[in-house]
Symmetry: C2
Subunit: 104 residues, 2 copies
Amino acid sequence: MAVKTEDHLFLEAETVDEVSRLFKALADPTRIKMLYLLSQEECHVGHIAEVLGMSQSAVSHQLALLRTLRLVKYRREGKTLVYSCDDDHVISLLKQAIDHAQHR
Amino acid sequence: MAVKTEDHLFLEAETVDEVSRLFKALADPTRIKMLYLLSQEECHVGHIAEVLGMSQSAVSHQLALLRTLRLVKYRREGKTLVYSCDDDHVISLLKQAIDHAQHR
DNA sequence: TTAATATATGAGCATATGTTCATATATATG
DNA sequence: CATATATATGAACATATGCTCATATATTAA
């Protein structure tokens, strides 16, 4: 919660840091494309790399970051790992921002 | 608009960049605090610096960035410049992210 | 068990970002 | 007009970020 002090509300440092981490995750063009793709369909790693024209390594590094924040999850299927979104609220934020960007 | 291609939607490069710029603006702890403060009350530059414990220069640089994105506006009042939020939608995104961060 | 395939991870490097310090600019007011 | 005050801006520097390259790991399937 925000802390009431005199005449305005302060955010706690922990909250500010968490919000920062979340928006940082959403601030990179590559991750925006990845999350938007995953919001439409589950994908294995190689497919993401192919569709977005990225290296396997770059995709994997970014997925590691998104996993840390629990924005994506994965399961094994045969010899591939299938990734999908794991935070509807964050997808909602992303889509709002996309709408916002498109209406100007 | 997103472009339909075969089986999924691609975002246009321009849209991705705009979304990235927006989230980048929201991703820095300093700017989060500044925008949250401005969402509660109009402030002149010196007041922001004082309340957030930042240098005048740092505040001014960040305000310049927020102005570029039209997230804040200002007017002169006596010898000070009074800043306020200029994008309700973005404030809404910020507050949603704050709620999200606080509920975990 | 071994080879092949899919993914993860670490190191290194180039670029981006946020701050400070010094200084410029603009407006108010004596 | 002259000076003080508030804010803006440019340069420099330290840190963060995202990529590539090389290699490790894990699972499948022969």
